[in-house]
């Protein structure tokens, strides 16, 4: 329980972490949030909407990797490092793909089947770059950011050893 508390407190501090210019918004949420509410707020803040916006949302599956019914998905992260990496990946990706703005939100804590895990949105002038940037950012979140998932089923928790294949 102590460990969990430490995570939650640090996560709350990190919520709403935003880079110097508003083009990048990155946050780790320890409580459920609505993808469409967040998306709406971010699109409004951008003022006049960019021509192209690509979005990805990941939700908790109802089954474990082994096909058993999932009770909960526990998500932990390395506070501090994780937020900084997310911000750095996102800024680098915007620059690499030549796109204007991005929103990256990720849940930690105990999630139920159907809950939102991750939201990535990228806006810019051309549909190709925003789609590729959104997809590349998602792969970085999956493979290069210190997040860990534990599946709970039948009262037993199992840490995942690897992500689902692309």
């Amino acid at each position: 329980m102590e460990t969990s508390w430490r995570f939650f407190l640090l996560s709350r501090e990190a919520e709403g972490m935003t880079s110097a210019h508003d083009a990048v918004q990155v946050a780790i949420h320890s409580q459920p949030f609505s993808a469409t509410d967040q998306l709406d707020r971010w699109l409004q803040r951008a003022g006049s909407a960019a021509a192209a916006t690509a979005v990805f949302m990941g939700h908790v599956r109802p089954e474990t990797m082994d096909g058993a019914p999932l009770e909960a998905l526990e998500l932990s992260h390395y506070p501090g490092l994780c937020e900084r990496l997310l911000l750095s990946f996102t800024q680098q990706q915007l620059s690499d793909h030549g796109v204007q703005s991005a929103l990256v939100l990720h849940r930690v804590g105990r999630l139920s089947p159907g809950d939102l895990i991750v939201l990535v949105a990228v806006s810019g002038d051309r549909r190709g770059p925003v789609q590729r940037c959104c997809s590349d950012l998602l792969e970085l979140l999956k493979h290069e950011a210190p997040f860990w998932k534990r599946e709970w089923s039948g009262g037993v928790g199992t840490w995942l050893g690897a992500n689902t294949p692309l």
Partner: protein, 87 residues
């Protein structure tokens, strides 16, 4: 430089995450290497009693990724990170 390190004891705060944390039964603890051992993440790992160096584990020192033989300084934060499974 190596000699400097050998001449002083090195205490680092070790953080474990996810499966490593469960295996060890703790999340954060100080560890000290004597003045006669080169202070690296690999050397600290030997003190943790968690078996051989596990494949896929990454190392961060003061919240930056480093190699397993990165020289540590007294007071560093050293984290062992199992394979990431976010997103």
């Amino acid at each position: 430089m190596g000699e400097t390190r050998l001449s002083a004891a090195c205490t680092v705060q070790v953080l474990l995450f996810a499966s490593l944390r469960d295996r060890a039964g703790w999340s954060s603890r100080p560890f000290t290497l004597s003045a006669h051992t080169l202070c690296t993440p690999q050397a600290i790992w030997q003190l943790l009693d968690l078996g051989a160096w596990p494949g896929g584990v990454r190392v961060a020192v003061n919240q930056s990724f480093v190699a397993a033989d990165h020289p540590l300084n007294d007071g560093d934060e050293l984290a062992f990170l199992p394979p990431f499974t976010g997103g």
